[in-house]
Every structure is written in C-alpha cells, then in structure tokens.
Amino acid sequence: MTDSKYFTTNKKGEIFELKAELNNEKKEKRKEAVKKVIAAMTVGKDVSSLFPDVVNCMQTDNLELKKLVYLYLMNYAKSQPDMAIMAVNSFVKDCEDPNPLIRALAVRTMGCIRVDKITEYLCEPLRKCLKDEDPYVRKTAAVCVAKLHDINAQMVEDQGFLDSLRDLIADSNPMVVANAVAALSEISESHPNSNLLDLNPQNINKLLTALNECTEWGQIFILDCLSNYNPKDEREAQSICERVTPRLSHANSAVVLSAVKVLMKFLELLPKDSDYYGTLLKKLSPPLVTLLSGEPEVQYVALRNINLIVQKRPEILKQEIKVFFVKYNDPIYVKLEKLDIMIRLASQANIAQVLAELKEYATEVDVDFVRKAVRAIGRCAIKVEQSAERCVSTLLDLIQTKVNYVVQEAIVVIRDIFRKYPNKYESIIATLCENLDSLDEPDARAAMIWIVGEYAERIDNADELLESFLEGFHDESTQVQLTLLTAIVKLFLKKPSETQELVQQVLSLATQDSDNPDLRDRGYIYWRLLSTDPVTAKEVVLSEKPLISEETDLIEPTLLDELICHIGSLASVYHKPPNAFVEGSHGIHRKHLPIQHGSIDTGESPVSTGPTAALDQPQVIPSQGDLLGDLLNLDLGPPVNVPQVSSMQMGAVDLLGGGLDSLVSPKPCIFSVSQILKKVFVRVFWSQVLLRLHCFVFLCSFGVIPTTPLPIHTPLMPNQSIDISLPLSTIGPVMKMDPLNNLQVAVKNIIDVFYFSCLIPLNIFFVEDGKMERQVFLVTWKDIPNENELQYQIKECHLNADTVSGKLQNNNIFTIAKRNVEGQDMLYQSLKLTNGIWILAELRIQPGNPNYTLKIGASLFLSLQAYRPIDRSSVYKVVLEGCQT
C-alpha cells in the first residue's frame, strides 16, 4: 500500500466525498480520509471547510490518526479560530494522558496553534508538563515555552514560565537542558538587556556537563549559548576551552564550527605568550581543514567562515594553503571561495605554488572563475613584492592566449600593478598595446587608456592610440570618457607641441557636445587649468599618486570582530551583521569579542576596543519618528583631521571658486556640496570607519532629495574619500532650516546613522526662468510693502555694473532694468526660487565705491514669514562674494 494514491483523487465533488469518508464509522476509513485531506493540503488545495469533520476524528486512541489530525489543525486553526476552540478539550485531555508520547504530542501541537483563545488554555497543561516526570515531555515543554513567547511574550512572563525554564537548566536529562538553553537563548534575543540566561559559573558548569551527554543538535545549542558567556578571567576561559576542544572531533560540522566560535572568542582572553594559547591555535587548524572534506554545502559554509578566521588569525591556517587548491569538479561556489582564501594565505613561502595553480585556473571554463583567477594573480603581485615579476610574466602569458575576457581582466590588474610598482614594468606596455582592438569592456578600455596616458612619454604613438579612442567618444561609457579626457590632458602636458589639436578636440567634445555633467565639469576644469596656469596644471595633473594598498578587500576590523562572534551562522555566510538581513528585534543586539580583563568589566556585555566604543554610545537613535529631531546635537566621535582637499578630483570644484573650504566642517563625515547645473556633488570623507552606505536622507528648506540611491557599492576604507555625484530634485519634504541654505543629511551605514549638515550655495535654487516681465516687475516692486523690504551693504566688491550683471546672470539672477541716477548705477533684478518664490532686488553701485547697496523685496504671492531677512541677503552675498575673484 502506498500513499501516492492520495494525491490523485477525482476532482468532482472531492470535498463532499471526503466529508462523507471522514464521518465513516470505520476507523480505518477515517484514517484514509484524513490522509487524503492532508495530501490535498500539501498540494495547496483549500480543505479548510472540512475542519469540523476532521476535528471530530481527534477523539481517538489511535496515535497515528491523532498525529494526522494534529497536523491538519496546525495548518488551519489560524484561519478558523472559532472552530479551533472545539479542539481544546481534546488537547487538555491528552496532556493528562498516561502515555508520555501523547502528553508531549499534545503540548507540542498546542504550541503550534497560534490562536489567542487556545493559548489561554495552554498555560495550565504547559505548567504541568514543565514539571512532568518524563524527560521527553519536559524537553517538549521547554520548546513550547519559546513558541508561546513568540505568540504572547507578556503572558509567558506573567505566568512565570521563564523561571520554570531556567530551572530546567539544572535538569538531570541532557536533552531537556539543551532544549531549555535553546528556548532561553531565543527568548533572550528579544530582551537583550534582561539577564535571562543568567550565565554564571555554576550554570556554565551544568552546561558543560550536559555538553558531553546530549545529542549533536543539543551540543550546538549549548555551544552557541556558551559563546555568549564572558568568563571573568583567563583561568575560567582556559578551563572552558579545555572542555570545549574535544568537540572539534565531532562528526557534525555544525558542532565543530560552534566549538570553533567559542574558542575563537575566548582566545581573546588568553595571554598570548602562554603555552596553552599556542596549543589551542594549533588544535584549531586540523578540524577546519577536515570540514572541507564534507558535502559541498557544508564546505561552502566552512569556507565563508574560514575566510573570516584567516583575516582574524592568519597564523592558524598559514601552512594549509594546499587544501584550498581548487578541484576540477568542485561546485562553482566552492571554487570562488577557495580562490579568495588562497589569495589571503599567499605569501612569499608558497607563492610559486599558488601562481602555478592560478595559471591553471585561468584556463578553466567558468567565466567568473577565470576572471577571478586572473584578478587573483594581480593581487598576488601586489601582495608579495618578490613575486611581482613572475606574476607579470604570467599575466603576459595569459594575454598571449588572446581569450577575450582573460586579456581584458589581465589589463585591468596590470594597471593596478603599475600603481603599486611605478616605473618598473613599463617594458610590457608594447605587448599590452597590441591588444588594444580586442578590448570591448569599459573597465579594460579605461585601464588601457590610463596606462597610455600615464606613460605617454614612453609610448611613441600615444597620440595615435588615444586619438583612435576619440573617434567613438560619445559611444563610450562615462568611465572611459573621463579616463580618456584625463589621459589626453596628461599627454598634452608631456608632449605639448604635437598634441595641441588633440587636447582641444577632447575638451570641446567633453564640454560642448556632451550632456554628462561630470564630464563637462572635468572638461571645464582642465580647460581653465590649462588656459590660466599650465605650470600648476602640470603639478596637479601629473602629481605623484599614492601607492595602492596591499590588502584591498579586507573586512573592516569591527565588523570582522562582530562576525567572529557569529561563526557558523548565516551572518558569517553573508559576511553581514545579522541586523542587515533579519527583521524585527531578533539579532539587533550586537555582539562583541571579549576584551582581556585588566580591571573593568563586570560580565555584562563587553565593549569592544577601538573607535567603535566611542562611536557606539552617543548615537542611540530616539525613534523613527523624531529621527531628525535632534539633528546636529549629536556630535559624533572625536574631531578628526580633515584629509587634504587640495588634490581633489576636478568634479567638485565650485565654479565661482573659493567657496568650498568654508563648507567643510570638522565632523567625522564631511560633505561638501557644490552645484553646477542642477547637479550636486557630494564628497564624502570617512575618517575612521569603514562604511557601506545604506541610505541617505536629506532635509532642507527647499525639499532637496536625491533621485537615485547613493551609488556606493563597495565599502570604503578608513580615510578613503570618494566623490559621488547625485542627481537631485526638489520634491522632497520641506523643513525650515536655520540658516535657510542649511542641508541636513543623515547617512545610514552598517555601524549606525550619522547626521551632519552643510550649507548649500543658495544660488542652486535659482531657476532659469527667473526673468520677470518689465511691467510685472514695476508693479510688483511697487506693491512690496515696506516691511518686506530690506537694505544691505555689500562691501569690497570691485566690479562694474556690467560685469556684476553678467556674473549674476550666470547664476540666474536677471537684470530687468538698469538706470543711471546721479552717477550711480541702479540695477533692478529678479530671481525665482525652485519653490516658486520671486525675489526682487535693487542694486546700487557707485563707481569707485566698492560697497554696494542692496535693497531686496520678495514678491507678494508668497508668504514671507518663513524667510528671515538675513537669508535673503545671503543670496546676494554668496553670489557677489564670488564675483570678487
């Protein structure tokens, strides 16, 4: 007899038939019917209408039938809460059954029925079951407390179930202990501060005893729980480690990894010079290697964890690089991970072997894998200086294969090698140039162009090469266009005589024919730089570049420490802290490695060392609602030295000059915003923390918000700065700021939310159609009530009326009329803000007097209350001060 027949019932009147069968007198028939119902349920048919009939079958002493009915109940009780109550009696009765298996079954199932009314009835039976004489019932009841807590946490606390659960830690049966630990661990995750588990040396001792006796799964629960304990001194840490190390020989890889987690955490507490420390490190290596002989999925989990362990303590596996060599038929996810670890372990001692392997991989089939292998060769060159030469020649060999993607990947890494060892391998440039035509990926083209530009003086036909790229300039990606622009400017500065035409061509392509603002900006900058001061241009463009660092993709140390606390878990697989992928309250509590106890710390949550400690505390965010309420009151971290801005990329320069530095404020994260043609450039410096940005919120008086998410995909290193250009629109929420052009920004990253503010040049809000009709102007100007008018003196401005007018026009401040009164120039001007507000002004300029008088009024069809006078004048100030230069 097989069960598959239940999957194929005749469609017509199916429910009706089942109903009849469920009410059949014969027990066997009823059982068959329930099986059919469950089969229908599995394939997704709605059989909820049979609820009363199925529940009727519950009153049976046949355990098999009972289990089937319970299975049905778990699925449908929620959708039929009133019906479900019918089952309660039966459950309560079963909880008193002489057979422990039935008692356990009843309490287990009841916990799975998430109906409030039923939950109330669950309390009494559960209380009894927690004290049941049979361990099987107790271990089931322990899990049931966690279930109940998930449904109604308050009730669990009120009923004192947490205390009963804690009592079970001292139970004589190891499995009861393990389940109690699992339940308590889960519950305490949603109460991070309550010391629910109450881990004290006595309890730890009980756990360690149970560890030797319980099932493999129980061992995992206990080890995971142990890893949250903070031993009070090194002696305690060592004694726990001694009792945990035997677990490294367990056949279950999860037991091994959880044991590794405990040991990795407690290693922090052991003195580094002790014998035990060394022995322990040695003991960790073989089990980690053994994990790689498991099934591929476990290998994958192990490799992701080893990747962390290798970064934290490279000494553990430094001798074992061979086991990470890729096997031909490893699944691709295992191959890619192994490759990553190989590079991390590469050193002078093993580089020859590693390189031979990498070369082998570069001929494989999977494109991603091959690319990564080629990239790895480049990284070896950068990491192990002695091997650089060999790596370069390997890369050249690979280029000779002419396999398109191999060549392209190789050229990209060779550029990085040039950045690391300048003036060393330029002899290979000729070979690279041969492959110019086959490059079709932006990355590779940009890399090649960079190389040509950087070494233009050694490449005879550099101008020809670059010119060939110029032909299809507009079809190139932005990355290539920008690189090409810079490369040609470099070439021009190196060989000015022959390449004047070329540079002019590229500048005009970039500035006049392109609608990409980044490109235009960079073009203009170069143009101005070249036309005003070629010597400075040379200094700027051909300045010596900093060398690139050896390790590029290390996980930021504080994150790494946190992930070490999560070894074996999903967080360690994703390499992300739990709150990045877990919803709700679970996992929000951050874990830290313990620190060696000198004097402080009382066994609560330990605080990690380093900058996070400082960053951690003050930034508790009140709540989502008033997230921005106390913006700026939070002064984060110690003041930081602002990285030098002088060598900045060209994109971010304020066209009117000089304004940028004043916008930089000494905050951990510094934003400067400058505007050109409706585009705001955001410059970010991260001082200490490596960041991956998650979101980005703007708040200002003009409703500025970014229209696209922040395009940062790779984490930033400490002190790394990055320029991002972000299209903005003014449709966001409006909030009045003081001063008006203040922009408040919140940036969320993996560590926390950071707030800061900066000033936006107000003139970016002036729209292009701000020129008022003469007649309208006259009428409006007259109609502006006196209290809305203000007068200002603008000092030290040595420009005549026409130049002022021209400069202002560039900023969308339009001169409507001009007249000469008593030797003074009177300019009547209008401008319109993005929010539709008109501002009118009268500017009086006396020739020879550097101080202008400004009279400003705002139009009537707007409410003026929102704008304080000072703001309006600042509009002009900003502009006019710019004019002085």
Partner: protein, 441 residues
C-alpha cells in the same frame, strides 16, 4: 531557527511543505521555486537570500530540499540537518525520489514533526525514531507502560542511539576501513596535493550494552607506548595487523557514541556502539600516502586538427594484490570529430556525449604497467578560446588502505551479559577507492 521545510520535485512542484514558524509566509514556497529552481543561471550558492528570507537547499537526484528561515540561524546546523533528514528518509524508504516521497508523505510529515520542533532539531537517530514513529513502525498503543518510558528515556537519554535489551545468539562485528585517495598531480609527475579521507564503518550485532574499545596504528598512540616501553603486543597481533609502521592522522571525527573527552585526554576510542551499521569515525591523512596508480600523460598537438594522446598507467603496490574497476577518463576537445584508440589491456571507447575517452580495465595486479594511445581528429574551428585541457581522472578500487591505516584491535566488554571479548566474531576489511584522482595534462 528553521522556519519551514519544503521538498520539491525537479519541476518545482511542492511535494512536502511544513512550516514551523509564523514569520514564513505562504509565498516563501513560490519564492524559492521562482528564484532558484526556475532560475536561468546555474545556482551560485547553496544559500539564497530572497527578500530577507534565507533559503538553504540541497539536491538529491532530482529532488530539492529547502529549509527556510528569517533569522540568523546556525547555517552549518541547517545543512547538517538537511543531510540528516536525507539519511533518515533513506533509512525508511530507500532512494529519495519523487515517487518514494509521494508514497510516504504521511510518514515524512510525522518524521518532520518529531525531528524538528519549532525549527529546533531533536533526536534524529533512525534507530531511536523507529521505536515510536507510528507509520510502518511499532504501533505505540501496544506498548506497556514500561516500554513507553523506555522509549522516552532512550530518545532523550545519554545513549540515544541504542536501545536496551538487544540480544543476539551469535555476537559478531564487521569493520570496514573505507578510504578514498585523492590526488592532484602536475603533468610532470609532481604531487600538487594528495590526501586520504577515510571512514571506519562498523556493523555490530552485539547483545546488551557492550563497551567497545578501538585501536589503530595511530602514530601518537604508538609513540607514546614506545616511550613508556609498554607496547601492547597482545592487541597488536589480534586482528592480523602487522602494526609495525604507524601513521600520522591529521584529523579525525567520530560518531556521537564515541566519548570525545576521553579521546582528547588519552587518545583512546571508547564507545557503546549503535546496533547495526553506522560510521564510527572519519579521518584524514596527508603524509606517506601510497598512491596506487601513477598516470603519465603525453598530449601532443599535431597541427590544428589533430591531437596525439598517450597515457601510461603504472600500478604501485604489492604484486600479489589486485586492483579492480579501473577506469581512466581522458578528456577530448569539444570539436573532436573522430578518435582512434589502441590499448594494450582492457577496453577503450570514445564517448562523444561525455567528451572523453573511457578506458576500462577489469583487474590489474601490482607493479604492472599498461598503456593507451589515441589519435584525436579535430574539426577546424575559428573559436579563439583555447581548449581548457581538463585533467585526466581515474577510478579504481584496491584491497588495502592507501593511508597505511591498520586496525590493531577492537575489544568488546559486556560485564552484565555472559560473553567475553573472545566470543565475538570479528571481521576486518580494507577497501581503498579513488576519490578525485587527477593528473593534469
């Protein structure tokens, strides 16, 4: 913890769906089907995160098993659990196939209810499960009260893997030392990596609750004894092991019946075995491995349309022993149009569908040599991509342990019952198989 468990057939139809946690919605079943089973690209990771829900999957023939969670679960545990689930199902109904799963779905639900509670794995030892799972098992209403409490104490107890009161007329045990030897060799014959992963599988038919002690030629133990001058010679000769040479074991893991703390402190392997067949230990060695075969490849490209391949295999073990099921797989390029093969021994065939020449030899004695040569004709292509030259792989079976492991003794003590170590009939067998045994060419 695990929020739910789904089993799909190859088309992505749900065969079993069991949700343990409220945070897993009904659409989770479909999300996995759409994003993983029906995904266009090859699966790039066994863990997939779809809309903050993580899916762990393993595949057994055509069947997908997926565990779902929204929490930061112990990932290794989830996979170990899925493997265990497969083991349990296999123990109950054999091969995991769509038909078998449909035939046993009620049983599977019952098992899932028992071995996973609220997503927490519980006792998953088949031996214990069989005592109280109602489907195809003993119906528990027939149990007396004593039997019931015996079941529960076994399921939750310290020795969850063995029940009391087992009786055999003949006490017998079988030990299989199964090794797979892995090799990666460069074309020049240099060993790039080699290791043996071995398993000791035990079949025990012993009465009562026997205490066993297992001994092998572990270098650490032998050295210790050597130093102490108390070499246990009695044990050495017992099972016919020569025991002269000892081996260095890199690492080993044990079945949960083995007392790990005792191994850690004394390096002795003592345990009460489960009844029937189980895997006592796994181990790994990398030093002084006997490589049963050496493959010497010679590939020559003659022009653009022809390849000449010559492969010599040499057996490297005692002439009195016989290797079996020898198979050498020589990959050929994708644009192969024809192959001519000559081999001295066995049969060789070009298999176009597998892009390889497969050379099979039934038996081969030690210290022998055999050779195959082939001419491969190629279609001219303008494909720039070079042929990747996959390594030549080899399969074989030899009647010895390539690691050099020897069983020194397995002692059985059952103080309560009336049989001694000498009454137990013991069998030992060594089988060495090829794992990934590859030579680059």
């Amino acid at each position: 913890m695990i929020g739910g468990l789904f089993i799909y057939n190859h088309k992505g139809e749900v065969l079993i769906s069991r949700v343990y946690r409220d945070d897993i919605g009904r659409n989770a079943v479909d999300a996995f089907r759409v994003n993983v089973i029906h995904a266009r690209q090859q699966v790039r990771s066994p863990v997939t995160n779809i809309a903050r829900t993580s899916f762990f999957h393993v595949k057994r023939s055509n069947i997908w098993l997926a565990a779902v969670t929204k929490q930061n679960v112990n990932a290794a545990m989830v996979f170990e659990f899925l493997y265990k689930m497969c083991d349990v199902m296999t123990a109950y109904f054999g091969k995991i196939s769509e038909e078998n799963i449909k035939n046993n779905f009620v049983l599977i639900y019952e098992l899932l209810d028992e071995i996973l509670d609220f997503g927490y794995p519980q006792n998953s030892e088949t031996g214990a499960l069989k005592t109280f799972i109602t489907q195809q098992g003993i119906k528990s209403q027939h149990h007396t009260k004593e039997e019931q409490s015996q079941i529960t104490s076994q399921v939750t107890g310290q020795i969850g893997w063995r029940r009391e009161g087992i009786k055999y007329r003949r006490n017998e045990l079988f030990l299989d030392v199964l090794e797979s030897v892995n090799l990666l060799m460069s074309p020049q014959g240099q060993v790039l990596s080699a290791h043996v992963s071995g398993r000791v599988v035990m079949k025990s038919y012993l009465s009562g609750m026997p205490e066993c002690k297992f001994g092998m030629n572990d270098k650490i133990v032998i050295d210790k004894q050597g130093k102490g001058g108390t070499a246990d010679d009695a044990g050495k000769s017992e099972l016919g092991g020569s025991g002269k040479q000892s081996i260095a074991i890199d690492d080993c893991t044990f079945h949960q019946c083995v007392r790990l703390s005792k191994f850690d402190s004394e390096r002795s392997i003592s345990f009460i075995p489960p009844d029937g067949e189980y895997e006592l230990m796994r181990y790994r060695t990398t030093k002084d491995i006997i490589l049963p075969f050496r493959v010497i490849p010679l590939v020559r490209e003659v022009g653009r349309t022809k390849l000449e391949v010559k492969v010599v295999i040499k057996s490297n073990f005692k002439p009195s022993l016989l290797a079996q099921k020898i198979e050498v797989r020589i990959p050929t390029p994708l644009n192969t149009s024809g192959v001519q093969v000559i081999c001295m021994k066995g049969k060789a065939k070009y298999k176009a569908s597998e892009n390889a020449i497969v050379w099979k030899i039934k038996r081969m004695a030690g210290m022998k040599e055999s050779q195959i040569s082939a001419e491969i004709e190629l279609l001219p292509t303008n494909d720039k991509k070079k042929w990747a030259r996959p390594p030549i792989s080899m399969n074989f079976e030899v009647p010895f342990a390539p690691s050099g492991l020897k069983v020194r003794y397995l002692k059985v003590f059952e103080p309560k019952l009336n049989y001694s170590d000498h009454d137990v009939i013991k069998w030992v067998r060594y089988i060495g198989r090829s794992g990934i045994y590859e030579t680059r060419c």
